[in-house]
Symmetry: C2
Subunit: 391 residues, 2 copies
């Protein structure tokens, strides 16, 4: 099947680009002596997770138990939940442990840790936990400057039913960085904070074997930093417009695109058959290195750091290498994109376009399957097996 | 099962509120002598569409053929596609016609109409078409002021394989209205434009029996306007924060909510287990009648007309009637919501909250099923059968 025979909108995944992205990230981790544990929330596909393991990844990372269950069903036996999973989910975690899955999870609260300890002790299981450290994103995690933290780590290390294996962090604020230097500074600060917490624990006799960090844009900096043992990037398997804007990928690294059809055209605008139900409404953020604004073609500018529009459109639908900067997806309805045309466009109703979404992780989560392609040939349908497993 | 026993995040649909919304909209249409043809893109549920038909709706409206196929499989035999479906989809439409489904669709281009005519003639079928008129949203539709439009309608009325049944419009710009008067003006202008096009056609001997308008916020105005024959609202079945902001619904009309759990808490912020993968990133728009900004509690204001945050949080998770205006969902990650707390909150990790999403249509599309509830009792799981059918 050729690309042009697909019904639109269709989410496409370029198999060659995915393979190259997996190889490159594995080489980055391996050459620096770090373990790679990809976050599978991006593709939610056991097939692609298998590719990652075959390339050398030592396990997978999931967000919620629902994702872990899908991957356990597919035979994955080493799953890290980089989420402060609430103890109400203990029966589900115990069920995974009973099936022989090695589960580890992030914790950041004494009350939650106590509940996990009790649940594991009652079931005569032992659960690996990593303490989630807030390295600046201010979402979850313990405050690394909290003077009571070292004592808590000592207490945690001897709690029944648990095995404290290390520290875990996510530098989500990297997505607000405005330059490569700022990105490097985020990774540097993260490594320093984790080092300091680990050193304080070590001084009290608690060895933390694992120092796990995860975020695609900081991976290339974190890989070389002393003390880091594990990288958990997820988005790198597909990349997207945000990663390009952050300088973490080039356009020809981007593996996930959306194929759409022009349904109607008017003076100054064209309408596509792809709306927020396939592209999502993610504006995403990043410093602007692409887009119409860099050409000064528009009077108003989007808020600083917000990528203009809901995706970028490639100049050639069959060869997604160059963005057409005269097209801006300025509005999404549920099933339409309204594209502003700066000047004129050769696009006519019936023509196909390839869209680079702002955020690939949420696009994959909107469809039951993606089309795996090789150039312009459709190779197979790839189920997004854990799609919608947000619990 | 009680609400508190559900895993979170969970999308809840209050059965009583849905029933009341269906009854009220049907009464509005019926008392004004209009037909009601609900757009099912909001719930994507054959069960709820059946409720709508039983209340008096005379058919359903879908966006894409993919939605129509799901509803045809469920036994629905009168489906209107309010979308300028491209003729590449002719085999799918013919398959629906072959199965006895009465299909009608929107057209807005001569080249597309010619292709549909040829496809239908070749298959010895006749397809009902309605001309889509751009009444101010500037997405799809013919320009009602185009001097060539009447002649085109005459030509269309005699094209083989087609039956021109009327005009169809969607006043999507109603969502940018800033007052009830502005909403009424949008509905008024829409009715006037459609009337003028229909009158010009009548003067040339073309009778347009159907004048179909569709948008939840304008429905109460359009219902009473002369000439309108059909209302096609969709969102009214659930409503959402945007409709409340527009004055089209009250909080106790809102039937779809998201149940979430507080996973961690810090000074000035709490984190919920519901992110963009269940709430969507829709900022939606509407004039601000609710939210923190109306209390002046914040220095920066969101862009005019954009609802602050990614949803509103009810003060009582078991009785969703009043919004807690001290809580603002200011950031969504894929699986977390970061909630800013103005002052203090009694919410603690493990507590449940009920969220009113900005846009219910896209939330329902993120999950395979919703939980139908009666107060705090979970009645059944309702499959979102056409979820993800964006093609």
């Amino acid at each position: 099947v050729h690309l042009t025979e697909l019904r639109t909108p269709a989410v496409l995944v370029d198999a060659g680009r995915v393979a190259a992205n997996i190889t490159r990230m594995q080489a980055l981790a391996g050459s620096n002596g770090r373990a790679l544990r990809p976050h599978v929330k991006t593709h939610k596909s056991p097939v692609l997770a298998r590719w990652q393991l075959e390339a050398g990844a030592h396990g997978i990372c999931c967000a919620k138990p629902g994702e872990a269950e899908v991957f356990a069903d597919a035979g994955f036996d080493d799953v890290r939940l980089a989420y402060p999973v609430r103890p109400e989910h203990a029966p589900r975690i115990l069920s995974l442990l009973d099936r022989g899955v090695r589960v580890s999870l992030a914790v950041d609260r004494p009350d939650v840790v106590a509940a996990w300890s009790a649940a594991m002790r009652a079931a005569r299981h032992r659960l690996d936990v990593l303490v989630k450290v807030d390295v600046g994103f201010h979402r979850c995690g313990v405050d690394p400057h909290d003077p009571e933290l070292p004592a808590w780590l000592v207490a945690l290390a001897s709690m029944p039913g648990l095995r404290l294996t290390g520290l875990i962090s996510h530098a989500g604020h990297a997505y607000r960085a405005r330059s490569a230097d700022a990105l490097a500074a985020v990774a540097d600060e993260e490594a320093r904070l984790l080092h300091d917490v680990a050193a304080a624990a070590r001084n009290r006799g608690v060895a933390l074997g694992e120092i796990s960090v995860g975020a695609t844009p900081t991976a290339r900096y974190s890989a070389a930093m002393p003390g880091i043992t594990e990288l958990r990037p997820g988005n790198y398997v597909y990349f997207d417009r945000t990663q390009v804007a952050l300088g973490a990928a080039t356009l020809d690294d981007c593996a996930l695109t959306v194929l759409a059809t022009v349904v109607t055209a008017h003076e100054g605008r064209i309408i596509l058959d792809a709306g927020s139900k396939v592209l999502s409404s993610d504006r995403a953020t990043g410093y602007l290195t692409t887009g119409i604004d860099s050409r000064g073609a528009r009077a108003e500018r989007p808020p600083d750091g917000v990528l203009e529009g809901y995706g970028a459109i490639f100049a050639d639908a069959e060869s997604p290498l160059v963005i057409d900067e005269t097209l801006c997806i300025e509005r999404l309805s549920e099933e339409h994109a309204t594209v502003r045309v700066v000047g004129t466009t050769a696009l006519r109703p019936g023509d196909r376009v390839r869209i680079l979404p702002n955020h690939s992780c949420v696009v994959a989560n909107l469809v039951d399957s993606v089309s795996l392609i090789d150039g312009t040939a459709v190779v197979e349908r790839l189920p997004v097996a854990a799609r919608g497993r947000c619990d």
